[in-house]
């Protein structure tokens, strides 16, 4: 992956991660009690970990997009967007997760 592709990856990863988290679209689930992976929900196996599936989904989508987006287009995207979009995503995540505290 070249420089501009890394920028695309960083711009998309957080966005995709929060979308799949919000929608609970894990591409797989891990059940620690039975130490098994499943593509679908298996509540009989105890609590599931979706985090790995969210990370994998975000990594796959962002890497694919980073490879597909033309270099010229990626170079035109300002570096400022990396921290600006990340900051917006972090604030949005905090707003959503405030449900734990109130």
């Amino acid at each position: 992956m070249n420089g501009p592709s890394l920028k695309i990856f960083s711009l998309l990863f957080g966005l995709v991660y929060l979308v799949v988290f919000y929608m609970e679209w894990a591409i797989f689930r891990y059940y620690p009690e039975t130490q098994t992976f499943y593509l679908k929900n298996h509540p009989d196996n105890g609590p599931a970990i979706l985090w790995y599936g969210w990370l994998a989904a975000a990594a796959i989508v962002s890497a694919a997009a980073a490879l597909v987006v033309p270099r010229r287009l990626a170079e035109r995207i300002p570096n400022e967007w990396i921290w600006e979009i990340s900051l917006v995503l972090i604030v949005a995540m905090f707003i959503y997760e405030k449900q734990w505290f109130f």
Binding site: L6, S10, F13, Y17, N79, E97, W100
Partner: protein
Amino acid sequence: MITVLLIVHGLMAVTLLGAITHQAFSVAAPAPGRRSFFARFRQVNAAAYARPIVVLFVLTALCGGLLYPRYRIDVRTTLEDLQLRAANGVFEIKEHLVALGLGLLPGYWLLWQAPPSTEGARSRRYVTWLLAFVVWWGFLVGHVLNNIKGLLP
């Protein structure tokens, strides 16, 4: 085995915390001329920290990911039994922040590869601060939750 992994995770987190804090302070403002402790703390070769920070962040997150199943079974259920919703909440936030931090790393790496005097300095500073926030949150939450039984009355 899980205890060894937890200690390794903690040690890597401490190292990462030190590195990112040095770098975050160094990009805050030019170090003053006088040679105080804080001036020396900030006056590091910040660019040299970028590669170790990327490596340490990935390794620490990987280690945390390996510990996570045990946390999910033992700690989280205990927190739920004790109705400590806020404790569960801060860990949920840690989980998301680490994920967002992992996604931020390629951009962070890219910005630190550019010459230090370019127009990317502003982005470099803010990305470093965001990453520092992620690391500090992860460290403090991990530390408190690891010791929460001893902290409760």
